[in-house]
Symmetry: C4
Subunit: 493 residues, 4 copies
Amino acid sequence: AKMTQNSVMTQDVIKEENLRDDLRYYFMSPCEKYRARRHIPWKLGVQILKIIMITTQLILFGLNNQLVVSYKEENMMALKNLFLKDYSGVDEDDYSVAVYTQQAVHDSLFYVLDQYSQFGRLSVGPISYAEDEDGKLLPLTLCKEYYKRGSVEPSNEAYDIDAQLETVCVTHDPNTTNQQKTQNSSFFDLDFYRLVDIKITFQLRGINLQTVRSRELPDCYAFFVTITFDNQCHSGKVKIFLDIDAQSCACRNWKISGTAQKNTHYLLVFDVFVIVVCLTSAVLCTRSIVLAVRLLQRFSRFLHENYNRKVCEDDQSEFLNGWYLLVIISDLLAIIGSILKMEIQAKSLTSYDVCSIFLGTSTLMVWVGVIRYLGYFQKYNVLILTMKAAFPKVLRFCCCAGMIYLGYTFCGWIVLGPYHEKFEGLSRVAECLFSLLNGDDMFTTFAQLKDKNILVWLFSRAYLYSFISLFIYMVLSLFIALITDAYETIKVL
Amino acid sequence: AKMTQNSVMTQDVIKEENLRDDLRYYFMSPCEKYRARRHIPWKLGVQILKIIMITTQLILFGLNNQLVVSYKEENMMALKNLFLKDYSGVDEDDYSVAVYTQQAVHDSLFYVLDQYSQFGRLSVGPISYAEDEDGKLLPLTLCKEYYKRGSVEPSNEAYDIDAQLETVCVTHDPNTTNQQKTQNSSFFDLDFYRLVDIKITFQLRGINLQTVRSRELPDCYAFFVTITFDNQCHSGKVKIFLDIDAQSCACRNWKISGTAQKNTHYLLVFDVFVIVVCLTSAVLCTRSIVLAVRLLQRFSRFLHENYNRKVCEDDQSEFLNGWYLLVIISDLLAIIGSILKMEIQAKSLTSYDVCSIFLGTSTLMVWVGVIRYLGYFQKYNVLILTMKAAFPKVLRFCCCAGMIYLGYTFCGWIVLGPYHEKFEGLSRVAECLFSLLNGDDMFTTFAQLKDKNILVWLFSRAYLYSFISLFIYMVLSLFIALITDAYETIKVL
Amino acid sequence: AKMTQNSVMTQDVIKEENLRDDLRYYFMSPCEKYRARRHIPWKLGVQILKIIMITTQLILFGLNNQLVVSYKEENMMALKNLFLKDYSGVDEDDYSVAVYTQQAVHDSLFYVLDQYSQFGRLSVGPISYAEDEDGKLLPLTLCKEYYKRGSVEPSNEAYDIDAQLETVCVTHDPNTTNQQKTQNSSFFDLDFYRLVDIKITFQLRGINLQTVRSRELPDCYAFFVTITFDNQCHSGKVKIFLDIDAQSCACRNWKISGTAQKNTHYLLVFDVFVIVVCLTSAVLCTRSIVLAVRLLQRFSRFLHENYNRKVCEDDQSEFLNGWYLLVIISDLLAIIGSILKMEIQAKSLTSYDVCSIFLGTSTLMVWVGVIRYLGYFQKYNVLILTMKAAFPKVLRFCCCAGMIYLGYTFCGWIVLGPYHEKFEGLSRVAECLFSLLNGDDMFTTFAQLKDKNILVWLFSRAYLYSFISLFIYMVLSLFIALITDAYETIKVL
Amino acid sequence: AKMTQNSVMTQDVIKEENLRDDLRYYFMSPCEKYRARRHIPWKLGVQILKIIMITTQLILFGLNNQLVVSYKEENMMALKNLFLKDYSGVDEDDYSVAVYTQQAVHDSLFYVLDQYSQFGRLSVGPISYAEDEDGKLLPLTLCKEYYKRGSVEPSNEAYDIDAQLETVCVTHDPNTTNQQKTQNSSFFDLDFYRLVDIKITFQLRGINLQTVRSRELPDCYAFFVTITFDNQCHSGKVKIFLDIDAQSCACRNWKISGTAQKNTHYLLVFDVFVIVVCLTSAVLCTRSIVLAVRLLQRFSRFLHENYNRKVCEDDQSEFLNGWYLLVIISDLLAIIGSILKMEIQAKSLTSYDVCSIFLGTSTLMVWVGVIRYLGYFQKYNVLILTMKAAFPKVLRFCCCAGMIYLGYTFCGWIVLGPYHEKFEGLSRVAECLFSLLNGDDMFTTFAQLKDKNILVWLFSRAYLYSFISLFIYMVLSLFIALITDAYETIKVL
């Protein structure tokens, strides 16, 4: 019995030493692990490989994306210059052109039709009318929307309106526009009191030839152009918008000679490789988490059995390494992004934005993750440690400051909104105040409020001076005090 | 006697314990009160309800306000584009257009008349000439103001002026403008040496139809347009202003079909409910203040009777809770604002600005008041405590800095005022310096002073360098030192 | 002997007590002086009176100044619009218009002549041709300056130039310009290879009538207009400048009726009163300084006789109150400024700038002087004390930082000067760097350097990043550290 | 033996004392050296002389450089205004003009030819056609580059392209342009589908006459003008670029009379003198380093022999004075810069940029080197000491922050690049973020992202708020904490 007990004790001792070793090993840095058990740091290698590959992938995607974006933008620019009369080259506010007289509306309208009918002789790009599948040109559609019935007599403050909207459309063939204009002359008798908007829609087809020079296949594009004459406000100002929805697809018939086509397979292979590396990294990290949880369980069982104590919360959180979580999330994002990227390259998807958000966020996380490895070298983790120490205080502090901030946001929006474009929407006010407190554009903000009524002028001064003083002098200074305090705390450790 | 004394003592003890209990209870947080006496925190509930309701009310009012403001602004824009010759689309400085030749003044003048006479065929909005009650069109009035008598001969530095102003007016009917122009040709013989200004005033009527779509009743607007040709300066530059005074009223005859009108009663009920909640909150807070004063009296009487001591000032101020005051003020503001809002909705008032200032300020205060409840959780009130601790020092410090600031303001205004638009008025100088010390627009401020006379150039450099160095490096750093100091004081507590 | 000794001792004791009293009294604040010896604080009263009066005087002068400045500026604007062809309304860089072709030069030249000849019918202001004393119109003078002899053949890289300049002038009478143009046609045969510049000078007379409304006498102005066609660079770009020298004088013949003239005597009396107050203040302060020096001498004699010790330097500097010096300087400036102001009002001087610098600086100093009186209340002088404590350190520190700053200034000027307008001159570089380190306009500074040659691009990046990082992160942080340190030193006291 | 030992000991003692003296002397400041051994501080004198001379040289070079640069820039401006149709005076983005219609391309093309053919009568500067060595005018060359074969039918998504590029050129004699235009009419039949670009190249010769007035010899310039009609993108927008390569050379035949030429020899002598001073300084510093190394060797030998100890690393680094290295590098840069400058003055080099970078960098270093001498006065080296103390921490800290920064850079580029011009290229993103964290342009950055798709809008807000908060509130505050900490460390010493 004694022997058994002895052996049990020995076993216990062995178990304990085992656990202690495992624990010590768990908290080692890759270097120390290598020295201790000749454990080659695969995980570290995978991470470094991942950083390089994800960054490369992002840059390749970005460069490709830029070409597509610039093609679309320049086409947008060209079409605006072709179809909008008196277009200045830059959009005002959110619309492109504003017209104020009935004559100007008619002129702008006919200008679109004229330019469209002679589009083939105008444009300098490989872009032309769209054809349907029978080779017939798709016509331009012109729709006007107006109140069903309405007689408005502002002179004697009377109106009689049927608020239901009616829509009337005519179509125009580019080849016979002039005849049609005279035929549909009744259509162009616009009753501005009732008119809500006029929409001109047509479709153009273009080919992005520039990719030939980077030895890629040119894509075909369908441009769905919508020109809107917006009279919804009935304020005497008709805003003209030009919107383009550009959809790319593979061309139907193509033949290229005189140049070798780049092999797009390599790119696919690269993407697949990225996915594999990310998967590996995710699996390795999951394993580490699982191991950590098991180790924690062993440790807590040991503590419970031998000392009848529980693992305190602080120690528990030591086991659950937040970095692993970060890596796994970034891996998942990268995998999804890579798949989207492959789809885009295969022309079966066009959602560049979604893909770039996935790839971008994962790259951001991967680079932030590097700090973890820097943290293995002592003294390198001042930033992280200070942040960790300051975080709860900063958060609590932000809560309070946030209340005042919110109050100022609402108050600024309601009072100054009508007088200052920076205070027009709630999110804009929040941004404006955020910018102000970081020392941005102060004088112009003040100045734009100058020649309004005296009450609002006084209020705006009180508002701005108090906000800026309070936040720049009090709140920002307190931030510095908080961080300095946290830094001194971690310096002592 | 002993028993009596005893009972008195017992009574005293009971009273004392009672007081102690009451005092303890008074300084508890709502949570603790609930735990101690199962007192359900009505007041807290009312406050939370108030925050939600006031914010909702503010947002509803703001969205409605935006529609009105944008309608007015776009009409202003449209009228400027219709009536001002060569209008560029943006106002220069504070006027809209400036003309420099006699011919240009005549052209601009006739342009207004021509455009007015054909206004019906020009405008794209539901806006037209105003009629008086008999259905007759209100005419345009054209007034010129000039020195009664005047012969100015700059060539030989002589003038002879009767500084009294005379005003001559003619009226124009839109339908017969051209005849009138020739009839009143003597009126248009402007003697520019004597001319002070020309004022063209007319009235237009418009209907804000856009509200039909948000299922509200369209309002009728009267636009009182004033176009001023300002030659007061006699400097060879005639500034043209266009001002609009837009007044809304309910339309006289209206009929809408094809859509259901939104029930505006709900909104009124909501406003009334807000007023009720605010009243409740104000009453509850007043009651709390009254209770606190009574408790203070009891406490001071107790201290006086038993220990013959007075309550010290610090303790007294503990009783008088500043938060209650804040809440009551915000409640009063909200009530006044809500009443104004109801009046506006009933079209009996149009002072949007005053209403929005009341509502905005009350919302700001209500959100700031949230900090008080956060303060009940420990550690959350760092901001408030530090501010309280730093406040007297900061104020004293601001006094001193303010003197230097004032000195710089006066000095900058007088010396740099003629050379730099940022230094034109005293309040602008104050704003400019305030912006500069928060790191704004420095280079342009320097740069705009470049090609003036050398003395002013040197002065401006000395002025700006010294001001910025003094305030950014000394004063702002001292602010940080003050706040850090205050933070360390409260951290120790 | 003993008695004598005794009496001497007594005398000594009395003297000592006397001295002690005087010293104590000397360092008292006005309040304490009043309490101690019922000494009514005349000096304080005079200072307060001075602040009010100087500030009032400054505001009055400023308002008057603004009218004059705006009159001159608007005239400048009007003349530019009248005489410069294709003037856009804003000056480019430092010239008004630039022309690039021979035709355009001729057109602009003839445009000036044409406009001048019909000036009377053009201008809307009370401004006309100048006459000499016999009532004859002063003619316009047209001068061209060119190299005496020159044949330049860029094609075969040959030139032969006589670098001496010749000037040929013709005069034009406004009434007969057209004949003269044809008569002097040889003058207008410009040989652009030799032409250095063309100068058109003429004189106009105007009357500032706007002051009639503020019930002051209108002044007469002589405008000496110079239009320069500058071809000095011979770079294919002819810059056109328009300069005006406006001189005001009292009009010769004038008659005003219909309004009472403001009595300008009151203003003179006010100015005299300001001078008297400033003189009083200066005399009082000088007396205080004299008294202080005497007291110091007594004290040092006493110390020397009784303890054979010298007054240490720190104590000496306590006696010499820097504030008095400040007050005396500000008084002198105010007196000079007031005298200048009176001269200006009497139309015998026109140097507004010099006067405003004197008045402005004295006002700045007077307001700064207020801090001294605030300093008598305890705790109010944190700002001054901290500044005093930090000053030597800050100065030494600025010396070092200044060296690096100077190095960067020179380096930036030489390398980036040709590529970026902010780095064009040494003083501009200094201003630009100063602005950058206070957080201004960083991105645009970066951005404007984008499409230059790669070497300069790389250099500019290294330059800007290193400068900003060094100064914002290191130098500014050290400033905060210095001030915080100084604050903690004075807080302990 | 004892005596020998004794003498050895004596020798040792003497040696030791010798060494101690030398060491003490080595670490003295120039002043102390002068006092100790009457060693006149030649080195200091040379340095002061160097500072003065290098700064003078830099300023001279800079002023000269400015003239050349302004001549080139104004010529560039003039040529753009002459040859580009509808040129607005400022370049858009990176091109000068953009055209959108076939007609506009033809117009712009013919405009160039027309203007070129009448260039002699157009330009106001001493600039004309280039001639070859036989005196024949060099013709203008017009080349168009296009895809060898191509039929593009966007309507039915079909194309057939031979991606090889063909180039066709025609030359135009300025005297016979009009005939040639009709002769080469086939050349101007542009097939826009295939057209890649059109390049117009010609050569002009000019003489920089303005230097005559600063009494220097005028240089001849050859301007190689290239006008490019860029249709590479095939996006419907043809961008027009105008590039000038200006090469200066000495004119072949020249004759100047009427003015004395400045003697340029003095400048050469000055440059040589600068080189000599820099060489002396470099040699002296090298000698000092050699002496220091020898002293170190003696000291380490002594320590080894007598105490059998090694010199610790800290002490070693004390011997190797970094300042000497700085001086030597700056000397070398100055010498290279001066040689380049002399070459430029002798017209055998035109690389102003390289020269100015060398001179600029050396001047920067020389001024930074002044701090070393300031450091000899106590208390003056706070800046340097604090920087030294803070440097390792700051560097480590920057590493960590840099990772996050890099992550944000990549992420911002990929996601926001297509929507915001500030995020277009990786280096621009880095600059933009750097500017943002120093408080620049925040609101406009926010605002320009407003009307994009909702996903990107949300992302941009999260991105910007998180970046700014993280860096301004956490990272910058930590910087202050680090520097304050370092300052306190060195203050104790």
